[in-house]
Amino acid sequence: MKLEMKDAPGQLVAALRPISEVGGNIIAVIHQRDRKGERGEMLSVQIVLELPDQRLSDLIRLIREQGVNIQRIGHERLLYEKTVIVIGHLIHTDLGDTVDRIDCTGFAEVTGLNISMPAITQVSSARLVIKAVNKEDMEQAMEILRRVSREKDFLLVEPLEEVE
Protein backbone atom coordinates (compact mmCIF):
# COMPACT_ATOMS: atom_id res chain seq x y z
CA MET A 1 0.00 0.00 0.00
CA LYS A 2 1.04 3.58 -0.52
CA LEU A 3 0.92 5.96 2.45
CA GLU A 4 1.37 9.71 2.71
CA MET A 5 2.45 11.44 5.90
CA LYS A 6 4.15 14.56 7.27
CA ASP A 7 7.89 14.31 7.10
CA ALA A 8 8.33 14.68 10.83
CA PRO A 9 10.20 12.53 13.34
CA GLY A 10 8.24 9.52 14.60
CA GLN A 11 5.67 9.60 11.80
CA LEU A 12 6.94 6.59 9.93
CA VAL A 13 7.22 4.51 13.07
CA ALA A 14 3.67 5.53 14.05
CA ALA A 15 2.40 4.48 10.64
CA LEU A 16 4.10 1.11 10.76
CA ARG A 17 3.20 0.16 14.33
CA PRO A 18 -0.40 -0.96 13.52
CA ILE A 19 0.97 -3.55 11.10
CA SER A 20 2.45 -5.63 13.88
CA GLU A 21 -0.62 -4.95 16.03
CA VAL A 22 -2.83 -6.81 13.55
CA GLY A 23 -0.30 -9.62 13.26
CA GLY A 24 1.12 -8.48 9.94
CA ASN A 25 4.61 -8.83 8.60
CA ILE A 26 6.51 -6.08 6.74
CA ILE A 27 8.28 -7.36 3.67
CA ALA A 28 9.61 -4.08 2.19
CA VAL A 29 9.44 -0.31 2.83
CA ILE A 30 10.24 2.11 0.04
CA HIS A 31 10.05 5.82 0.72
CA GLN A 32 10.59 9.05 -1.09
CA ARG A 33 10.24 12.76 -0.17
CA ASP A 34 7.90 14.92 -2.25
CA ARG A 35 7.75 18.68 -2.29
CA LYS A 36 4.15 19.66 -1.85
CA GLY A 37 3.96 23.50 -1.63
CA GLU A 38 1.62 24.73 1.01
CA ARG A 39 1.20 21.41 2.83
CA GLY A 40 4.91 21.39 3.52
CA GLU A 41 7.32 18.52 3.15
CA MET A 42 5.44 15.22 2.77
CA LEU A 43 6.75 11.72 2.96
CA SER A 44 5.40 9.14 0.61
CA VAL A 45 5.93 5.52 1.63
CA GLN A 46 5.21 2.26 -0.13
CA ILE A 47 4.89 -0.81 2.05
CA VAL A 48 4.74 -4.42 0.98
CA LEU A 49 3.30 -6.53 3.75
CA GLU A 50 1.77 -9.84 4.65
CA LEU A 51 -1.44 -9.90 6.67
CA PRO A 52 -3.49 -12.61 8.28
CA ASP A 53 -6.82 -13.29 6.57
CA GLN A 54 -9.51 -10.63 7.10
CA ARG A 55 -7.29 -8.11 8.93
CA LEU A 56 -6.92 -5.51 6.18
CA SER A 57 -9.85 -3.34 7.25
CA ASP A 58 -8.59 -3.25 10.85
CA LEU A 59 -5.19 -2.15 9.62
CA ILE A 60 -6.64 0.62 7.47
CA ARG A 61 -8.59 1.96 10.45
CA LEU A 62 -5.56 1.87 12.77
CA ILE A 63 -3.28 3.59 10.27
CA ARG A 64 -5.84 6.33 9.69
CA GLU A 65 -6.12 6.84 13.44
CA GLN A 66 -2.42 7.74 13.35
CA GLY A 67 -3.31 10.64 11.05
CA VAL A 68 -1.69 8.96 8.10
CA ASN A 69 -3.31 9.17 4.71
CA ILE A 70 -3.62 5.97 2.67
CA GLN A 71 -3.24 6.91 -0.94
CA ARG A 72 -3.60 3.56 -2.56
CA ILE A 73 -3.95 -0.08 -1.65
CA GLY A 74 -2.28 -2.25 -4.21
CA HIS A 75 -2.91 -5.83 -5.11
CA GLU A 76 -3.56 -8.19 -2.30
CA ARG A 77 -1.23 -11.11 -2.73
CA LEU A 78 -1.44 -14.66 -1.46
CA LEU A 79 -3.74 -14.08 1.44
CA TYR A 80 -5.67 -17.27 1.14
CA GLU A 81 -4.20 -20.58 2.28
CA LYS A 82 -5.23 -24.18 1.82
CA THR A 83 -3.63 -27.46 2.82
CA VAL A 84 -4.25 -30.55 0.71
CA ILE A 85 -2.90 -34.08 0.62
CA VAL A 86 -1.90 -35.79 -2.60
CA ILE A 87 -1.34 -39.53 -2.88
CA GLY A 88 0.17 -41.26 -5.90
CA HIS A 89 3.34 -41.82 -7.85
CA LEU A 90 4.42 -38.28 -7.16
CA ILE A 91 8.10 -38.66 -8.00
CA HIS A 92 7.73 -40.77 -11.15
CA THR A 93 5.26 -38.27 -12.49
CA ASP A 94 7.56 -35.26 -12.04
CA LEU A 95 6.79 -33.57 -8.78
CA GLY A 96 8.49 -30.38 -10.02
CA ASP A 97 6.00 -30.15 -12.84
CA THR A 98 3.07 -30.70 -10.47
CA VAL A 99 4.21 -27.80 -8.28
CA ASP A 100 5.02 -25.66 -11.33
CA ARG A 101 1.52 -25.94 -12.70
CA ILE A 102 0.32 -23.99 -9.67
CA ASP A 103 3.31 -21.65 -9.37
CA CYS A 104 3.29 -20.62 -13.01
CA THR A 105 -0.23 -19.20 -12.72
CA GLY A 106 1.16 -16.10 -11.03
CA PHE A 107 -1.85 -15.93 -8.70
CA ALA A 108 -1.21 -18.99 -6.57
CA GLU A 109 1.84 -20.67 -5.14
CA VAL A 110 2.84 -23.89 -3.45
CA THR A 111 4.46 -22.53 -0.29
CA GLY A 112 4.89 -25.77 1.61
CA LEU A 113 5.63 -29.34 0.64
CA ASN A 114 6.03 -32.34 2.91
CA ILE A 115 6.51 -35.67 1.28
CA SER A 116 6.82 -39.19 2.58
CA MET A 117 8.29 -41.83 0.34
CA PRO A 118 7.98 -45.51 1.16
CA ALA A 119 9.54 -48.20 -1.04
CA ILE A 120 10.15 -47.15 -4.61
CA THR A 121 7.28 -49.19 -6.05
CA GLN A 122 4.75 -47.85 -3.57
CA VAL A 123 2.80 -44.65 -3.82
CA SER A 124 4.00 -41.64 -1.89
CA SER A 125 1.93 -39.13 0.01
CA ALA A 126 2.50 -35.39 0.21
CA ARG A 127 1.05 -32.46 2.05
CA LEU A 128 0.94 -29.27 0.03
CA VAL A 129 0.28 -25.78 1.30
CA ILE A 130 -1.11 -23.54 -1.39
CA LYS A 131 -1.47 -19.79 -1.11
CA ALA A 132 -3.52 -17.58 -3.37
CA VAL A 133 -4.54 -13.95 -3.49
CA ASN A 134 -8.23 -14.60 -2.90
CA LYS A 135 -10.89 -17.25 -2.84
CA GLU A 136 -11.59 -17.22 -6.56
CA ASP A 137 -7.93 -17.65 -7.43
CA MET A 138 -7.65 -20.41 -4.85
CA GLU A 139 -10.59 -22.20 -6.46
CA GLN A 140 -8.86 -21.88 -9.83
CA ALA A 141 -5.63 -23.26 -8.35
CA MET A 142 -7.59 -26.18 -6.90
CA GLU A 143 -9.16 -26.79 -10.29
CA ILE A 144 -5.67 -27.01 -11.81
CA LEU A 145 -4.61 -29.41 -9.08
CA ARG A 146 -7.71 -31.54 -9.67
CA ARG A 147 -6.89 -31.69 -13.36
CA VAL A 148 -3.26 -32.64 -12.72
CA SER A 149 -4.44 -35.29 -10.25
CA ARG A 150 -6.74 -36.82 -12.84
CA GLU A 151 -3.96 -36.76 -15.42
CA LYS A 152 -1.40 -38.36 -13.13
CA ASP A 153 -3.78 -40.70 -11.30
CA PHE A 154 -3.32 -39.01 -7.93
CA LEU A 155 -5.82 -39.07 -5.13
CA LEU A 156 -6.35 -35.47 -4.08
CA VAL A 157 -7.67 -35.03 -0.54
CA GLU A 158 -9.16 -31.56 -0.20
CA PRO A 159 -10.19 -29.89 3.03
CA LEU A 160 -13.87 -29.83 3.89
CA GLU A 161 -15.05 -26.27 3.79
CA GLU A 162 -18.52 -25.53 4.93
CA VAL A 163 -21.04 -22.96 3.87
CA GLU A 164 -20.20 -19.49 5.15
Binding site: I85, I87, N114, E158
Partner: protein, 332 residues
Protein backbone atom coordinates in the same frame (compact mmCIF):
# COMPACT_ATOMS: atom_id res chain seq x y z
CA UNK B 1 -51.37 -51.28 13.20
CA UNK B 2 -50.92 -54.38 11.04
CA UNK B 3 -47.62 -54.86 9.27
CA UNK B 4 -46.33 -57.36 6.71
CA UNK B 5 -42.56 -57.85 6.68
CA UNK B 6 -40.63 -58.89 3.56
CA UNK B 7 -37.13 -60.13 4.40
CA UNK B 8 -35.97 -62.03 7.45
CA UNK B 9 -32.30 -61.19 7.49
CA UNK B 10 -30.48 -59.12 10.05
CA UNK B 11 -32.94 -56.21 9.82
CA UNK B 12 -36.14 -58.28 9.51
CA UNK B 13 -35.25 -60.45 12.50
CA UNK B 14 -34.22 -57.46 14.60
CA UNK B 15 -37.52 -55.80 13.81
CA UNK B 16 -39.51 -58.92 14.73
CA UNK B 17 -37.66 -59.19 18.05
CA UNK B 18 -38.32 -55.56 18.94
CA UNK B 19 -42.02 -55.81 18.02
CA UNK B 20 -42.23 -58.97 20.13
CA UNK B 21 -40.50 -57.43 23.15
CA UNK B 22 -42.12 -54.02 23.22
CA UNK B 23 -45.79 -53.25 23.47
CA UNK B 24 -45.96 -50.85 20.52
CA UNK B 25 -49.41 -51.71 19.22
CA UNK B 26 -47.94 -53.32 16.10
CA UNK B 27 -49.30 -56.69 14.91
CA UNK B 28 -47.35 -58.72 12.35
CA UNK B 29 -49.83 -60.33 9.97
CA UNK B 30 -47.36 -61.69 7.38
CA UNK B 31 -43.67 -62.38 6.80
CA UNK B 32 -41.69 -63.61 3.81
CA UNK B 33 -38.12 -64.57 2.99
CA UNK B 34 -36.64 -65.63 -0.36
CA UNK B 35 -38.14 -69.13 -0.20
CA UNK B 36 -41.40 -68.94 1.70
CA UNK B 37 -44.08 -66.83 3.33
CA UNK B 38 -46.53 -66.94 6.22
CA UNK B 39 -49.81 -65.03 6.62
CA UNK B 40 -52.40 -64.76 9.37
CA UNK B 41 -54.83 -61.83 9.48
CA UNK B 42 -55.07 -62.13 13.30
CA UNK B 43 -51.32 -61.96 13.75
CA UNK B 44 -48.59 -64.55 13.47
CA UNK B 45 -46.60 -65.85 16.43
CA UNK B 46 -43.29 -64.02 16.23
CA UNK B 47 -41.50 -66.52 18.44
CA UNK B 48 -42.62 -69.43 16.27
CA UNK B 49 -41.61 -67.79 13.03
CA UNK B 50 -38.14 -66.85 14.35
CA UNK B 51 -37.72 -70.42 15.60
CA UNK B 52 -38.87 -71.90 12.28
CA UNK B 53 -36.42 -69.67 10.39
CA UNK B 54 -33.61 -70.81 12.67
CA UNK B 55 -34.39 -74.51 12.25
CA UNK B 56 -35.42 -74.76 8.58
CA UNK B 57 -33.75 -71.73 7.06
CA UNK B 58 -37.11 -70.51 5.83
CA UNK B 59 -39.99 -68.98 7.76
CA UNK B 60 -43.23 -70.43 6.45
CA UNK B 61 -45.06 -72.08 3.59
CA UNK B 62 -42.80 -72.69 0.59
CA UNK B 63 -45.77 -72.62 -1.78
CA UNK B 64 -46.25 -68.94 -0.93
CA UNK B 65 -44.00 -66.07 -1.94
CA UNK B 66 -43.34 -62.43 -1.09
CA UNK B 67 -45.61 -61.38 -3.95
CA UNK B 68 -48.48 -63.35 -2.37
CA UNK B 69 -47.92 -61.39 0.82
CA UNK B 70 -47.87 -58.04 -0.97
CA UNK B 71 -51.01 -58.70 -2.96
CA UNK B 72 -53.09 -60.85 -0.62
CA UNK B 73 -52.15 -60.41 3.03
CA UNK B 74 -54.09 -58.18 5.42
CA UNK B 75 -51.84 -55.29 6.43
CA UNK B 76 -51.76 -51.50 6.79
CA UNK B 77 -48.03 -51.08 6.27
CA UNK B 78 -45.67 -53.12 4.14
CA UNK B 79 -42.16 -53.27 5.59
CA UNK B 80 -39.69 -53.96 2.79
CA UNK B 81 -36.33 -55.20 4.12
CA UNK B 82 -35.03 -57.45 1.32
CA UNK B 83 -31.47 -57.01 -0.04
CA UNK B 84 -30.50 -53.80 -1.83
CA UNK B 85 -30.01 -53.91 -5.57
CA UNK B 86 -28.64 -50.53 -6.59
CA UNK B 87 -29.01 -51.17 -10.33
CA UNK B 88 -32.58 -52.36 -10.74
CA UNK B 89 -34.00 -51.88 -7.24
CA UNK B 90 -35.60 -55.33 -7.54
CA UNK B 91 -37.31 -57.30 -6.09
CA UNK B 92 -38.13 -54.43 -3.70
CA UNK B 93 -39.24 -52.01 -6.43
CA UNK B 94 -42.03 -54.36 -7.55
CA UNK B 95 -43.03 -55.12 -3.94
CA UNK B 96 -43.28 -51.42 -3.08
CA UNK B 97 -45.17 -50.40 -6.22
CA UNK B 98 -47.67 -53.23 -5.76
CA UNK B 99 -48.31 -52.33 -2.13
CA UNK B 100 -48.71 -48.60 -2.88
CA UNK B 101 -51.04 -49.35 -5.77
CA UNK B 102 -53.06 -51.50 -3.39
CA UNK B 103 -53.42 -48.44 -1.17
CA UNK B 104 -51.01 -49.59 1.53
CA UNK B 105 -48.33 -47.55 3.25
CA UNK B 106 -44.73 -48.68 2.77
CA UNK B 107 -41.73 -48.45 5.11
CA UNK B 108 -38.36 -49.61 3.82
CA UNK B 109 -34.66 -49.84 4.64
CA UNK B 110 -33.92 -50.73 1.04
CA UNK B 111 -31.76 -48.09 -0.67
CA UNK B 112 -32.07 -49.51 -4.19
CA UNK B 113 -35.63 -48.53 -5.13
CA UNK B 114 -35.57 -45.25 -3.15
CA UNK B 115 -32.40 -44.04 -4.86
CA UNK B 116 -33.39 -45.31 -8.32
CA UNK B 117 -37.08 -44.43 -8.50
CA UNK B 118 -37.64 -41.75 -5.90
CA UNK B 119 -39.97 -39.61 -7.97
CA UNK B 120 -41.99 -42.45 -9.45
CA UNK B 121 -42.52 -44.10 -6.06
CA UNK B 122 -43.56 -40.85 -4.41
CA UNK B 123 -45.97 -40.06 -7.23
CA UNK B 124 -47.47 -43.54 -6.86
CA UNK B 125 -47.86 -43.07 -3.08
CA UNK B 126 -49.48 -39.65 -3.52
CA UNK B 127 -51.86 -40.95 -6.17
CA UNK B 128 -53.01 -43.69 -3.82
CA UNK B 129 -53.20 -41.46 -0.77
CA UNK B 130 -50.65 -43.44 1.24
CA UNK B 131 -47.22 -42.79 2.71
CA UNK B 132 -43.80 -44.04 1.68
CA UNK B 133 -41.16 -43.72 4.39
CA UNK B 134 -37.52 -44.68 4.20
CA UNK B 135 -35.75 -43.41 7.33
CA UNK B 136 -33.68 -46.60 7.66
CA UNK B 137 -32.07 -46.20 4.23
CA UNK B 138 -29.70 -43.44 5.41
CA UNK B 139 -27.65 -43.24 8.59
CA UNK B 140 -29.06 -46.34 10.31
CA UNK B 141 -30.56 -45.27 13.61
CA UNK B 142 -30.09 -41.53 12.95
CA UNK B 143 -33.51 -39.98 12.21
CA UNK B 144 -32.15 -37.67 9.51
CA UNK B 145 -35.16 -37.95 7.18
CA UNK B 146 -37.53 -37.00 10.01
CA UNK B 147 -35.28 -34.06 10.84
CA UNK B 148 -35.26 -32.88 7.22
CA UNK B 149 -38.97 -33.43 6.55
CA UNK B 150 -40.56 -32.54 9.88
CA UNK B 151 -38.10 -30.93 12.28
CA UNK B 152 -36.63 -28.52 9.75
CA UNK B 153 -39.85 -27.91 7.79
CA UNK B 154 -39.80 -24.36 6.42
CA UNK B 155 -36.01 -24.23 6.34
CA UNK B 156 -34.02 -24.08 3.14
CA UNK B 157 -31.25 -26.66 3.30
CA UNK B 158 -28.07 -25.02 2.05
CA UNK B 159 -25.85 -28.08 2.30
CA UNK B 160 -25.45 -31.51 3.83
CA UNK B 161 -22.14 -33.14 4.76
CA UNK B 162 -21.98 -36.59 6.18
CA UNK B 163 -20.11 -39.67 7.19
CA UNK B 164 -22.60 -42.12 5.70
CA UNK B 165 -20.59 -45.34 5.58
CA UNK B 166 -19.63 -47.04 8.82
CA UNK B 167 -17.21 -49.47 7.16
CA UNK B 168 -15.09 -46.71 5.61
CA UNK B 169 -15.18 -44.71 8.82
CA UNK B 170 -14.04 -47.76 10.76
CA UNK B 171 -11.13 -48.34 8.36
CA UNK B 172 -10.00 -44.70 8.42
CA UNK B 173 -10.28 -44.34 12.17
CA UNK B 174 -8.38 -47.59 12.75
CA UNK B 175 -5.64 -46.46 10.35
CA UNK B 176 -5.33 -43.25 12.35
CA UNK B 177 -5.54 -44.77 15.83
CA UNK B 178 -3.31 -47.82 15.32
CA UNK B 179 -1.08 -46.81 12.45
CA UNK B 180 -2.50 -49.67 10.35
CA UNK B 181 -2.16 -49.80 6.60
CA UNK B 182 -5.34 -49.65 4.52
CA UNK B 183 -5.12 -53.41 3.84
CA UNK B 184 -4.68 -54.24 7.54
CA UNK B 185 -7.61 -52.06 8.57
CA UNK B 186 -9.82 -53.59 5.87
CA UNK B 187 -8.91 -57.07 7.10
CA UNK B 188 -9.85 -56.07 10.63
CA UNK B 189 -13.18 -54.66 9.39
CA UNK B 190 -13.88 -58.02 7.74
CA UNK B 191 -13.02 -59.94 10.89
CA UNK B 192 -15.36 -57.73 12.91
CA UNK B 193 -18.14 -58.35 10.37
CA UNK B 194 -18.25 -54.68 9.31
CA UNK B 195 -17.09 -55.32 5.76
CA UNK B 196 -18.51 -57.70 3.20
CA UNK B 197 -16.34 -60.33 1.52
CA UNK B 198 -16.49 -58.02 -1.48
CA UNK B 199 -16.06 -54.58 0.08
CA UNK B 200 -16.20 -52.69 -3.24
CA UNK B 201 -19.56 -51.00 -2.57
CA UNK B 202 -18.28 -49.51 0.65
CA UNK B 203 -14.62 -48.67 0.01
CA UNK B 204 -15.22 -47.28 -3.49
CA UNK B 205 -17.78 -44.91 -2.03
CA UNK B 206 -20.82 -46.29 -3.88
CA UNK B 207 -22.89 -47.05 -0.76
CA UNK B 208 -22.50 -43.52 0.69
CA UNK B 209 -23.17 -42.08 -2.78
CA UNK B 210 -26.50 -43.98 -2.94
CA UNK B 211 -27.40 -42.55 0.49
CA UNK B 212 -26.41 -39.08 -0.68
CA UNK B 213 -28.75 -39.49 -3.65
CA UNK B 214 -31.58 -40.34 -1.23
CA UNK B 215 -30.81 -37.28 0.93
CA UNK B 216 -30.54 -35.03 -2.12
CA UNK B 217 -33.87 -36.35 -3.41
CA UNK B 218 -35.39 -35.58 -0.03
CA UNK B 219 -34.29 -31.97 0.35
CA UNK B 220 -33.14 -30.80 -3.07
CA UNK B 221 -34.74 -32.17 -6.23
CA UNK B 222 -36.46 -35.45 -6.82
CA UNK B 223 -34.55 -36.48 -9.90
CA UNK B 224 -30.98 -36.87 -8.60
CA UNK B 225 -29.41 -40.16 -9.71
CA UNK B 226 -26.32 -42.07 -8.67
CA UNK B 227 -24.66 -41.09 -11.96
CA UNK B 228 -24.83 -37.42 -10.88
CA UNK B 229 -22.50 -38.03 -7.94
CA UNK B 230 -18.76 -37.49 -8.26
CA UNK B 231 -17.40 -40.51 -6.36
CA UNK B 232 -13.91 -41.22 -4.96
CA UNK B 233 -13.35 -44.07 -2.51
CA UNK B 234 -10.85 -44.60 0.27
CA UNK B 235 -8.85 -47.49 -1.18
CA UNK B 236 -5.92 -45.25 -2.14
CA UNK B 237 -5.53 -43.67 1.29
CA UNK B 238 -2.12 -44.37 2.80
CA UNK B 239 -1.10 -44.33 6.41
CA UNK B 240 1.48 -41.66 5.50
CA UNK B 241 -1.33 -39.43 4.27
CA UNK B 242 -3.09 -39.74 7.61
CA UNK B 243 0.17 -38.96 9.45
CA UNK B 244 0.72 -35.88 7.27
CA UNK B 245 -2.82 -34.77 8.10
CA UNK B 246 -2.28 -35.32 11.81
CA UNK B 247 0.80 -33.11 11.79
CA UNK B 248 -1.62 -30.31 10.99
CA UNK B 249 -4.15 -31.44 13.65
CA UNK B 250 -6.34 -32.88 10.92
CA UNK B 251 -7.45 -36.32 9.80
CA UNK B 252 -9.08 -37.92 6.76
CA UNK B 253 -12.71 -39.04 6.55
CA UNK B 254 -14.93 -40.12 3.67
CA UNK B 255 -17.44 -37.29 3.32
CA UNK B 256 -20.61 -37.24 1.25
CA UNK B 257 -21.48 -33.66 0.31
CA UNK B 258 -24.54 -32.13 -1.33
CA UNK B 259 -24.60 -28.40 -1.92
CA UNK B 260 -27.37 -27.08 -4.17
CA UNK B 261 -25.98 -23.52 -4.20
CA UNK B 262 -22.71 -24.73 -5.70
CA UNK B 263 -24.18 -27.67 -7.59
CA UNK B 264 -22.00 -30.15 -5.69
CA UNK B 265 -22.82 -33.84 -5.26
CA UNK B 266 -19.65 -35.52 -4.16
CA UNK B 267 -18.32 -38.43 -2.14
CA UNK B 268 -14.58 -38.15 -1.47
CA UNK B 269 -11.99 -38.49 1.27
CA UNK B 270 -11.52 -35.05 2.84
CA UNK B 271 -9.21 -33.35 5.31
CA UNK B 272 -10.97 -32.31 8.51
CA UNK B 273 -9.67 -30.75 11.72
CA UNK B 274 -9.54 -33.36 14.50
CA UNK B 275 -11.98 -31.23 16.49
CA UNK B 276 -14.59 -31.24 13.70
CA UNK B 277 -17.97 -32.73 14.72
CA UNK B 278 -17.93 -35.05 11.71
CA UNK B 279 -14.73 -36.72 12.94
CA UNK B 280 -16.43 -39.67 14.65
CA UNK B 281 -14.80 -42.95 15.56
CA UNK B 282 -15.43 -46.54 14.49
CA UNK B 283 -18.60 -47.43 12.61
CA UNK B 284 -20.51 -44.33 13.73
CA UNK B 285 -22.23 -42.14 11.18
CA UNK B 286 -22.52 -38.35 11.40
CA UNK B 287 -24.49 -35.83 9.36
CA UNK B 288 -24.29 -32.03 9.36
CA UNK B 289 -27.21 -30.10 7.91
CA UNK B 290 -26.78 -26.39 7.11
CA UNK B 291 -29.99 -24.44 6.76
CA UNK B 292 -31.01 -20.80 6.37
CA UNK B 293 -33.02 -20.62 9.62
CA UNK B 294 -31.61 -23.25 11.96
CA UNK B 295 -27.96 -22.78 11.05
CA UNK B 296 -25.89 -25.87 11.54
CA UNK B 297 -27.21 -29.12 13.03
CA UNK B 298 -25.11 -32.24 13.45
CA UNK B 299 -26.53 -35.69 14.16
CA UNK B 300 -24.31 -38.56 15.28
CA UNK B 301 -25.32 -42.18 15.79
CA UNK B 302 -25.08 -45.82 14.85
CA UNK B 303 -25.18 -46.21 11.09
CA UNK B 304 -26.13 -49.88 10.96
CA UNK B 305 -27.04 -52.90 13.04
CA UNK B 306 -30.09 -55.04 13.38
CA UNK B 307 -31.90 -53.34 16.29
CA UNK B 308 -30.59 -49.87 15.35
CA UNK B 309 -32.07 -50.18 11.87
CA UNK B 310 -35.27 -51.58 13.40
CA UNK B 311 -35.45 -48.37 15.47
CA UNK B 312 -35.64 -46.27 12.32
CA UNK B 313 -38.26 -48.58 10.79
CA UNK B 314 -40.43 -48.49 13.91
CA UNK B 315 -40.19 -44.70 13.99
CA UNK B 316 -41.62 -44.66 10.47
CA UNK B 317 -44.40 -47.16 11.24
CA UNK B 318 -45.53 -45.24 14.31
CA UNK B 319 -45.26 -41.93 12.44
CA UNK B 320 -47.69 -43.27 9.86
CA UNK B 321 -50.02 -44.52 12.58
CA UNK B 322 -49.97 -41.24 14.49
CA UNK B 323 -50.03 -38.79 11.60
CA UNK B 324 -51.91 -40.61 8.91
CA UNK B 325 -54.45 -42.39 11.07
CA UNK B 326 -57.47 -43.74 9.26
CA UNK B 327 -56.64 -42.38 5.84
CA UNK B 328 -55.34 -45.71 4.51
CA UNK B 329 -57.85 -47.99 2.92
CA UNK B 330 -58.91 -50.77 5.26
CA UNK B 331 -57.70 -54.15 4.13
CA UNK B 332 -60.51 -56.52 3.21
Amino acid sequence: MRVAILGMGSVGKGLLQVINQKDLGITVTAVADSKSALMDRDGISIEEVLEAKKIHGYCGDTSLSSVDVVTKAAYDVLVEVTPTNATTGEPALTHILQALTRGRHVVTSNKGPIAREFERLHRCAAKNGVMLRYEATVGGAIPVIHVLQQGLAGNRVRAIYGVLNGTCNFILSRMAAEGLSYEQALLEAREMGYAEADPTYDVKGIDPAIKLVILANTFWKKTVQLEDVDITGIDMITNDAIRLAEEEDCTIRLIAEANPERGILRVAPRLLPLSHPLVVEGTLNAITIETDLAGEITLIGKGAGSVETASAIIGDILFIRDFHAGSHKKAP
